[in-house]
């Protein structure tokens, strides 16, 4: 269900700026600054997808997210990290011997229209929580032999505390069942 209005337009603009800024930090490989955007309890996942049919032919609710995600203990996501794991993930890239990113990939992330799926204000302090869906296109060029574009939907939860939005949860839902890239060495 799509909320018919974005709520406070100023907040919507604020979130657009946040998403644009986040993409720029990742493209510019300013990973320390990016880590600052994460809540201490961030839950970051990129599940694997699989080919399935809906439980009922007309039931695209079960066809769609999350039923066709390998997102339980019996399966393996492509990435499942907490804050420490994400810090390790991007920290490794700085060792000089993370050959997958030496030389670094060049990336461009395009984050599509934001849809505020839910929002709540949790007090007079200005603290708030929003659930945002967006589309992500990430083009990645590696040396000159791989140019891959990954397409995904992001389902995020952001929290605002002391005036700053931080990412509390991110589910990146790729279109591809087989990741069309030789690895996944940068965050989505």
């Amino acid at each position: 269900m799509i909320a018919s209005d974005v709520g406070d337009p100023a907040r919507y603009v604020e979130l657009m700026q946040w998403y644009g800024g986040e993409a720029a930090l990742l493209d510019d490989r300013r990973f320390d600054a990016w880590l600052e955007l994460l809540d201490d309890e961030v839950d970051y996942r990129v599940p694997a997808r699989w080919n399935r049919t809906p439980d009922r032919p007309d039931d695209f609710a079960t066809w769609n997210v999350p039923a066709d995600l390998d997102d339980d203990d019996a399966h393996l996501p492509l990435l499942q990290l907490d804050r420490a794991g994400l810090a390790d993930f991007v920290g490794r890239l700085r060792t000089g011997t993370a050959w997958a990113e030496t030389p670094p990939s060049r990336t461009t992330r395009v984050v599509g229209p934001l849809v505020i799926v839910a929002s709540s204000d949790t007090g007079a302090s200005g603290d708030a929580e929003v659930t945002v869906r967006s589309a992500l296109l990430m083009h990645r060029s590696r040396v000159e032999w791989e140019d891959a574009t990954l397409h995904a939907a992001r389902h995020d939860t952001l929290r605002r505390h002391r005036g700053a939005w931080r990412l509390r949860r991110r589910l990146v839902i790729l279109d591809s069942v087989v990741l069309p890239s030789h690895n996944l060495s940068v965050p989505l």
Binding site: D73, W145, S181
Partner: protein, 422 residues
């Protein structure tokens, strides 16, 4: 003009001892077609694990080489593997990766097959085929043989293939270290799939024997070591049979299982290993109970990194591309918390985003990309490490290299040379 003048002879590409390999093995398209007809048609190939098909009706869509295969469990619990290709006009029968089904209906003209492969439904069989179609002739095309080894499901298209246990040979004794250490056996979690622009042999030779690259290619994982190339403990290489290979850590005699993992590993894991120690020693015997399997390959494309609980199939997709399928292998009877620890270890290290695996993909792609030059410039590659220093493995279970050695890669290419020319 001799039409064969461009065909390369595999006997010219790999020296008889396997120590010199011409890079054309990675890029020659005729040779690749020949591999599909020989290696991938005759060898026993890993299809999956019984835990992926828990009950009658379970199915998994998989492949053997480039051939699409539907793996099913019929109502009597028997496993079957058939080409996933409709016998009528040849479209893909099942496009769902896994699930449960009694029958499969083709999306083109509606032929229906039972999960044992039999054709059981043909629209218009009486009216359009005049009741003359003998459906027993038109079931799905089965593999020649299907067999399991301690949970793993293998099949071959070759009716003259040796039995699976003979094909595995001494490799089975080593595989037991991970497959048979507990009475309840194992289960497979997964799968992650991704595409690497590389020839499949580049991946398999790495799995079967490349201890050498660990300290360098994966150095970022050992950042705290001053001189990683020399500080990372090297496994010894074991060649149970020519073509198969494992890297093995040998812990001191009497080492308890909980001491084979670092003190930084989660307490739940160490407690679990402590609990199962006696069971493992009893089942495997003291000799194997102190062996840790590090990496391995069962010819041609079943790869293992048991030290991180990773099991993989490298599916060829053309001469210069593979689909990597990566799973985690865990003890079936381990508590849920321990399974999560084992799964997390596999995730952190292997798979497309794993801290080890990320760096392999680029190297493997490069090896294949560079090989195109070798079509003109015949510069052989070096697989000489430890040549002449092989020793017999204890108990006559193959041969060993006492430290990092190319013994297994030499075996891999010798086997490959035999398979594509026999």
């Amino acid at each position: 003009m001799n039409v064969h003048q461009h065909l390369v002879d595999p006997l010219d590409l790999v020296s008889p001892d396997g120590a010199r390999v011409d890079q054309r093995v990675f890029c020659d398209t005729d040779l690749y077609e020949r591999e599909l007809d020989t290696v991938f048609r005759r060898c026993w190939l890993l299809l999956g694990h019984e835990s992926q098909l828990p009950e009658p009706g379970s199915f998994v869509r998989t492949s053997m080489g480039e051939d699409p295969v539907l793996l099913t469990r019929d109502r009597d619990g028997r496993l079957h593997a058939h080409l996933n290709i409709c016998r009528h006009r040849g479209t893909e029968l099942c496009r769902v990766d896994r699930g449960s089904a009694t029958t499969f209906e083709c999306s083109y003209h509606g032929w229906i097959y039972r999960n044992d492969g039999r054709l059981v439904g043909v629209p218009g069989r009486k009216t359009l085929y005049y009741d003359e179609l003998d459906t027993s002739d038109w079931g799905l095309a089965p593999v020649a043989e299907l067999d399991t080894y301690k949970g793993l499901i293998f099949a071959t298209f070759d009716p003259d293939a040796p039995p699976l246990v003979d094909y595995l040979g001494n490799a089975a004794w080593y595989l037991d270290i991970i497959l048979d250490r507990r009475a309840g056996g194992t289960e497979l979690l997964g799968v992650q799939k991704w595409r690497i622009p590389t020839n499949w042999k580049v991946v398999s030779e790495n799995h079967c024997g490349d201890e050498y690259h660990v300290g360098f290619a994966h150095r970022s994982n050992f950042a705290e070591l001053a001189d990683p190339a020399h500080s990372v403990p090297m496994a010894r290489e074991i060649r149970p049979e020519v073509g198969h290979g494992f890297g093995v850590f040998l812990f001191p005699e009497g080492t308890r299982l909980e001491h084979t993992v670092g003190p930084e590993s989660p307490p739940a894991l160490r407690a679990y290993l402590g609990e199962i120690h006696d069971e493992v020693v009893e089942r495997l015997g003291p000799e194997r109970a102190r062996m840790g399997l590090v990496h391995g390959c069962v010819f041609p494309n079943f790869g293992l990194v048991p030290v991180f609980n990773s099991l993989r199939i490298c599916q060829p997709r053309g001469v210069g591309e593979v689909e990597m399928w990566s799973f985690a292998l865990v003890d079936r009877d381990a508590p849920a918390e321990v399974k999560r620890v084992l799964r997390a270890t596999a995730l952190k290290t292997f798979g497309p985003a794993g801290s080890f695996e990320q760096d392999d993909g680029g190297n493997w792609s490069d090896v294949t990309r560079m090989s195109r030059s070798a079509r003109r410039h015949r510069v052989p590659l070096n697989l000489t490490m430890g040549l002449g220093h092989e020793a017999a493995a204890p108990g006559d279970r193959g041969e060993i290299g006492l430290t990092a050695s190319d013994i297994n890669q030499r075996g891999f290419y010798r086997r490959w040379r035999d398979e594509v020319t026999r």
